[in-house]
Point group: C2
Chain length 359, copies 2
């Protein structure tokens, strides 16, 4: 069962909750914009459904709502940012702004972040580069749920990557994806519907094949993009490892199995190897390579050619990365955002607790 809520309504609610737990007004606004960009873009697992999760992290003393976010190291094209334990939804745009500033002067800007928390969808941050005629990159590590090829231990998060590339008349190319076969959010959808998962998404605690959508909760693991060794899961492992190292080993955050869990009921590892979780951002000024006008003309040509490719029977077009999310955003801004009944109940309880009306 789903119920539909208008964006301004959810915005008002989430913004109030962030203020209730101590975020300054401007940061509450920013956190809300980032959080709800997931709901608008159709990535429901990363949107307002997580609001109470952030609150519980705060209540567990694991999130600082008044962080002093600061640069701790820099070069002309790089910086390391310490998020001071702040909300990733606030720390990440701050860091991406620094990457954009660096790119303005040095051509590119690259910022590694430590001591942060879950940052919402990578797409929001990478797309911040687009209005500046820059390419944006964003990645983050996350709670360990993924077993590398041949491993039965969960050592990596779903570690997403987003690359956002401006075009001219065409909408931008925005590839935003978990480096696993399927994102955890897709399993949650199957769990709610009591459906099986396709083979190749998860493995049992012994590394065996499984179609159980609840397998990860029962000690199993998500599988890197590729599904098995024969189909390239070692390449998905490479991608997840790349994200982990850039986000955390470069910045001084926790990596691999030491990444603190997002859920407050699991304690962070007792022997941290860094501070908080890590992110990595990049901004590349197009005209540090060639004229932005020429580049965009060719991006339009690229997108048009790929979108009009001949398709397999039953599919009417090749989907350009970013198409589904943009279409969702257009629809949901008008028609509203559908929320699952469990999410609605959870938000109502949250509203009651903080004396903020949800309806």
């Amino acid at each position: 069962m789903e119920e539909v809520f208008q964006y301004p309504h959810l915005y008002q609610f989430a913004q109030s909750i962030f203020q209730q737990i101590g975020c300054p007004e401007q940061e509450a606004n920013l956190a809300t914009r980032v959080l709800l960009s997931a709901d608008l873009r159709g990535i429901d697992s990363h949107g307002v459904a997580r609001l109470s999760g952030y609150v519980r992290l705060y209540e567990a003393g694991r999130m600082n709502t008044k962080p002093a976010i600061r640069k701790v190291h820099e070069s002309p094209s790089t910086a390391v940012v310490d998020g001071d334990g702040g909300l990733g939804l606030v720390v990440a745009p701050h860091a991406m702004t620094i990457a954009i500033e660096k790119a303005t002067t040095a051509g590119t800007g690259w910022v590694a972040v430590r001591n942060s928390n879950h940052f919402g969808i990578a797409g929001y941050h990478a797309m911040m580069a687009l209005p500046h005629d820059m390419i944006g990159l964003a990645m983050t590590n996350a709670s360990p749920l993924v077993a590398p090829t041949f491993s039965i231990e969960r050592l990596l998060g779903t570690n997403p990557i987003c690359v956002a590339i401006p075009a001219g008349n065409e909408p931008p190319f925005v590839a935003d994806f978990a480096t696993t076969t399927a994102a955890n959010g897709k399993l949650e959808i199957l769990q709610r519907k009591n459906l099986d998962a396709p083979l190749g998404w998860v493995q049992t605690r012994d590394g065996g094949p499984s179609a159980n959508a609840n397998e990860v909760k029962e000690g199993g693991a998500l599988i890197p993009l590729g599904s098995d060794r024969e189909h390239g899961s070692h390449k998905g492992f490479c991608l997840g490892a790349w994200v982990d190292i850039f986000s955390a080993v470069l910045s001084g955050a926790n990596y691999g199995p030491w990444v603190p869990p997002f859920v407050s009921f699991l304690a962070p590892p007792a022997d941290p190897v860094g501070e908080g979780i890590g992110h990595f951002f990049g901004a590349m000024r197009i005209d540090a390579f060639r004229s932005a006008a020429e580049f965009k003309k060719h991006m339009d040509n690229w997108i048009t050619r790929f979108r009009s490719a001949r398709t397999v029977t039953g599919e009417d077009r090749v989907i350009i990365p970013g198409d589904p999310e943009r279409e969702s955003e257009q629809t949901r801004l008008q028609a509203g955002i559908p929320l699952n009944e469990k999410v609605v109940e959870d938000l109502e309880a949250l509203g009651k607790k903080f004396a903020v009306a949800f309806r």
Copy 2:
């Protein structure tokens, strides 16, 4: 049938051939080092087996053995290089050297290359960063053999990515992978043995499933990493597209279906959208983020932890990216490089043609 040749023997031969087609001595040395690094590292499809292919490109007037490689655009952290139609084996290390120089002063360096040719293995170029305590990245586009998700047209190459990351006592992390389910070289191995391919590597000309290792030659296509939509092939498509755009749209090279084929018997498209093929390189100075000593200590910890993870039954360890290639290099430098009999025949014919003894 295979025959084993010592590295110095193959080096001498390939170096002479490159000089015979007009490469200056130093460039012939460099091209040979890059080419044979593939044979040493066990990526047989990209090594000396391709030597006659490069020669045929030269004979078809599609490769310049005396290129004037030059920077055509730059910013403090970026450059665009025009390879002047040169051998990618020479153009690529030249461009990577510029990336490393930029990183020395700006913290990072990013170089897009146009008007180049096949550059061998991405790993060689990315690993050039390692002795400088830098992270290296290398990617290239390539002849269109891959159908994006839902497409039956071949619009992308196998577009590899390499990320090379220094460690301390441990060997470096070197992830070098095609962004398809399987590299074309793996199909060639099956073809030589008359074996079927696993489902999910290739599709028929209509986009249907196939186990025919010769499918690509018969109008079919390679499939992006993920194998099918349900298992994330759209993410593999994102990766291949990312490589194509960074390598060619940023630099002014040909992209997508316009990339000229490596094989000389196929003519390049009559309506090019750029010049030659494109590459993209990056170098990131570790101490532009944190002290290299600290970073390496944590990389050692990362590698040790992942390598010692508990494994599925039948596998004794988790493979760290770069392990198999490094082990191959150690073995083959000692024991020699095994070449398939067809490759040996091809090299003998090449030697005869240029009056360079192969034995």
